[in-house]
């Protein structure tokens, strides 16, 4: 396995902590993009700190790529402002902005060698040839492709091509690195490997990075912060842990990881009713509503003996290696519920389809969202 052992570029080798202190890299205000009657982005506000690795995450058509392209200047916004390091770049064409970009398709120039691809932006700056050669060698070493200068892109594997694209994007030392689904075209094994490599490289260079992805696992693994988007607006911005543990909306809750939704009635600010049972839960703002949706992750659901908790019936059991996924029906309301439990615990409970048992919903793991209909 190749590792990132190459020396850092002196220019990019800044202390990461210092960068973080330096404050905002990018500030987006009220960014709106319309395509005819369709609103692709509806007044997005976002601030990205210097040196941060941010992921735009969401289902296809949520506006994440549109937002990235607006930042790059490739698809100018209909309204709103983008400020990069204190400079208003809202109306600048791409070539006047400061970024490097890597696309899902790599977009390597097929008729140019790896060397010429990486040197593409350098040649234009009229650096002298020796300097360019040095810099290209340095970049290729950085992405573990030293010695591939003379090859053509077609002779490289997908992962190698993507690393060349990365080297090309970094060649001009941009202040901002934009990654547009860079890993989607690769097969699973290469993807996981390259994921680590990119993250390590980014941490080392300290370059502010925005990555667009629809793969939540990728986002959770790589990002300092995740921007979850849906229908052209931001649903939540937070660290991976925040996004996972405290999803700000039912959409985020459902989109990230697996989640059980149960229809309940709020009962005051700290409790709810599931059928006739009253359960405690963390503070919520559905107090006045008639209906609400209770969310709980399968791994937070606890199974116990029949006489404790809510009684439920085991419908089916899936073996998923490290744990079992148990499908349950609550006796009280007939609602379906899924619980992930360790194999050892299952043996202790003597789980079998048709068995009845008790279900505990720990109050600290409960979140309540307004409305009733579960979105698909």
């Amino acid at each position: 396995m190749p590792t990132l052992t190459a020396p850092l570029s002196p220019a990019a080798g800044t202390d990461r902590a210092a960068v973080a202190e330096a404050g905002l890299h990018l500030e987006i205000r009220g960014l709106t993009k319309r395509f005819g009657p369709f609103t692709a982005l509806g007044g997005v506000d976002l601030a990205i700190r210097e040196g941060e690795f941010v992921c735009f995450l969401g289902p296809s058509g949520c506006g994440k790529t549109t937002l990235l392209r607006a930042i790059a200047g490739l698809a100018p916004q209909s309204a709103g402002r983008i400020v990069q390091r204190g400079r208003d770049i809202s109306r600048l064409p791409p070539q006047a902005r400061d970024f490097g970009i890597v696309f899902q398709s790599y977009a390597l120039f097929p008729n140019l060698t790896v060397f010429d691809n990486v040197a593409y932006g350098l040649r234009n700056r009229r650096d002298d040839r020796g300097r360019i050669r040095e810099r290209v060698a340095e970049l290729l070493a950085l992405v573990d492709l030293a010695g591939s200068e003379a090859k053509y892109p077609a002779a490289l594997s997908g992962g190698q091509q993507q690393r060349v694209a990365l080297a090309r994007a970094l060649a001009t030392e941009p202040g901002l690195l934009l990654l547009d689904e860079p890993l989607s075209a690769l097969d699973a094994r290469v993807r996981v490997h390259l994921r680590g490599q990119i993250k390590a490289l980014q941490a080392r260079l300290g370059v502010t990075t925005i990555m667009v992805t629809h793969d939540q696992e990728e986002a959770l693994a790589m990002a300092d912060r995740i921007v979850v988007m849906n229908h052209g607006t931001i649903e939540q911005v937070g660290t991976p842990a925040e996004i996972y543990r405290q999803p700000a909306s039912a959409f985020v809750a459902e989109f990230i990881g697996s989640m059980n939704f149960l229809e309940v009635r709020p009962d005051g600010a700290h409790a709810l009713r599931l059928g006739r049972r009253r359960l405690d839960c963390p503070a919520h703002d559905c107090a006045g509503d008639e209906h609400a949706r209770l969310a709980i992750r399968p791994e937070a659901v606890k199974l116990c003996a029949m006489n404790e908790g809510l009684s439920a019936r085991v419908e089916h059991i899936e073996f998923l290696g490290a744990f079992l996924r148990v499908g349950l029906t609550l006796a009280e309301t007939g609602q379906a519920l899924v619980a992930d439990i360790a194999v050892r615990d299952a043996e202790a409970l003597g789980l079998a389809p048709g068995a009845s048992l008790g279900v505990l919903l720990p109050s600290e793991a409960l979140r309540l969202y307004p409305g009733r209909e579960a979105r698909a």
Partner: protein, 564 residues
């Protein structure tokens, strides 16, 4: 028109965006000046009397009341429809042979089938006179009918339109999905039902599209009916007769407008069909491979060989005709007929002029059309402008050469036109030819560009490389095979076209293709054949040079293309 910047208009116009806007506007200017304004002038002219006063539809009324002119509509339609039926039928069988059988000699046949494109449409007409004329070798085959008239026109059309039809249908039939045939076979469907339920429906859009292309070519062609039409007048020869013979420009404009109608109609239908076809073939389709079947293979092989032999016969006849001392009474061979200097048509100078024109159009046209296609395809913003340009680029296909040539007279020969100086120069011939053959080149460019990664430009911009550098270093080299195709297409057409340029040449800019017509008009049939043969071999040489060059380029690019 909503252009450029959707915001408050104060968006900073970078040097590069300015260059791009200027380039787009230049492309617009080219097509507006080279196509729209002339056509508009022609429409206006058709509504004026000789003195230039507006007379409404009076000219059209006179047209309708002149039986000789009205008859041409029926004649044109008859000839075009028969040609369409024959060409499409024959081309379908040959295309089927190429794509769906294991017939031997496919490559050879495909090479032979391209040859007619390299000759002016006057060549088959001349050959037909030698083959079926009153002294022709096969005159008995016509059972007493004269070759001068509809029979000759239809045969001549079939010859030179056949390659176009074959190309379209070969493409249509080669996009087959083997899975459908496997499914049919698994269900025990007989072969003929498979043909009716899978093959025909699959090729249906190709067939319809092909029929319209052939019909348009047939109804607008001028060369064949001019040479062999005799007293059988068609719309295209009427335009010529009205304008050149009688200098009745108003009536010429009227006939042109009428000639424009069927061409426009088939253009609209074709566009509509193209749009519907898009989603037809799924990306997962598995190409169907024929398995040998001696009876079927040899049936189609014999058919294709017969067609190939007919093509060779027609070309061979023209070559022979150009070498015979005094046909049919003195059959000794001579090169005398290639001494054009003493004859009508401008002599060898016209051949040099044609070369000059063809090289200019090939060079300028290729760069301009490909670059414009790139601007249209790969720019962001200026959406309305780009859509308008794309439409204008598609339009020339619907404008017959005769109409475009005449429209140029009306527009560029106006005394008040600042572009009046172009009139009578080689430049106007270059512009006219470029516009005349714009559409196919534009479509070829767009197809090639669509195959490129859409993000090349974005990458270039992010690396702060000006777009023209990326165009030069990446887009152009990667698209080189298509670019070569376009330039050869333009070269060959510039060499062979008669219809548009017949109105625009002057004594200094006489062209070889027009010379063929003049030599024939004046009765120098052998020299007319000689000039046509000369054009044919010139085109052939360029085509062969292209093949060699493409081969060389592909070999050199093999390294980077292999997996791309």
């Amino acid at each position: 028109m909503r252009v450029a910047f959707p915001m408050d208009g104060s968006r900073w116009l970078s040097g590069e965006a300015l260059v791009r806007l200027v380039a787009l506007l230049a492309a617009l200017a080219l097509l507006v000046v080279g196509l729209l304004f002339p056509l508009a002038s022609m429409l206006v002219k058709s509504l004026q009397d000789r003195a230039g006063d507006f007379v409404g539809l009076a000219n059209f009324a006179r047209y309708v009341q002149t039986p000789a002119l009205m008859g041409s509509i029926v004649n044109s339609l008859t000839v075009a429809l028969i040609s369409t039926a024959l060409v499409v039928g024959l081309a379908f069988l040959c295309a089927y042979g190429i794509t769906r059988t294991c017939m031997p000699g496919k490559r050879l046949f495909r090479m032979l089938a391209v040859l007619p494109i390299l000759a002016p449409s006057l060549l088959p007409a001349i050959s037909l006179v030698y083959l079926f004329g009153n002294q022709g070798w096969f005159r008995e085959a016509l059972l007493g009918q004269s070759i001068y008239g509809p029979i000759g026109i239809v045969l001549g059309m079939c010859f030179w339109i056949f390659p176009h039809a074959l190309m379209i249908l070969t493409t249509a039939l080669s996009t087959s999905d083997a899975r459908l045939y496997e499914a049919a076979e698994a269900l025990g469907t007989p072969k003929w039902r498979g043909f009716l339920t899978i093959t025909l429906p699959g090729a249906r859009y190709g067939l319809i599209s092909c029929a319209f292309v052939v019909f348009t070519l047939a109804i607008t062609d001028f060369g064949v009916p001019k040479i062999i039409g005799g007293q059988f007048s068609v719309l295209a020869t009427d335009v010529y007769r009205q304008v050149v013979g009688q200098q009745n420009f108003q009536m010429g404009a009227v006939v042109s407008v009428i000639l424009l109608l069927p061409a426009l109609a088939s253009f609209v239908v074709d566009r509509w069909i193209q749009r519907r076809q898009v989603a037809q073939l799924s990306a997962r389709a598995v190409p169907w491979r024929p398995t040998p079947s001696p009876l079927r293979d040899w049936t189609f092989a014999l058919l294709c060989y017969a067609v190939g032999a007919a093509i060779l016969l027609v070309i061979g006849t023209a070559i022979y005709a150009s070498l015979v001392q005094f046909w049919p009474y003195d059959l000794s061979l001579t090169l005398e007929h290639y001494a054009f200097e003493m004859l009508a048509g401008g002599g060898w100078a016209s051949w040099f002029n044609s070369l000059k024109l063809a090289f200019s159009v090939a060079l300028i046209g290729t760069l301009v059309i490909f670059f414009n296609a790139w601007l249209i395809e790969k720019s962001d913003g200026y959406r309305v402008l780009r859509q308008g340009l794309h439409f204008l680029a598609m339009l020339p296909m619907a404008v017959p050469g005769m109409v475009l040539g005449l429209a140029y007279i009306f527009f560029f020969n106006q005394a008040g036109n600042p572009l009046n100086w172009l009139y009578g120069t080689l430049a106007i011939l270059v512009l006219n030819t470029l516009v005349h053959f714009y559409t196919v080149c534009h479509l070829t460019s767009v197809t090639a560009l669509k195959q490129l990664d859409p993000e090349f430009e974005a990458v270039g911009a992010s690396l702060k490389v000006p777009f023209w550098v990326t165009f030069r270093r990446v887009t152009l080299p990667v698209s080189l095979p298509a670019v070569l195709d376009i330039s050869v297409y333009l070269f060959v057409n510039a060499m062979t076209t008669v219809s548009a340029v017949v109105f625009l040449y002057t004594s200094d800019t006489r062209l070889a293709s027009v010379a063929v017509m003049h030599l024939d008009e004046a009765g120098y049939f052998a020299s007319a054949a000689a000039m046509a043969v000369l054009i044919f071999f010139t085109s052939l040489a360029v085509k062969l040079a292209q093949a060699a060059l493409s081969h060389l380029l592909l070999n050199r690019a093999q390294e980077w293309r292999q997996a791309g």
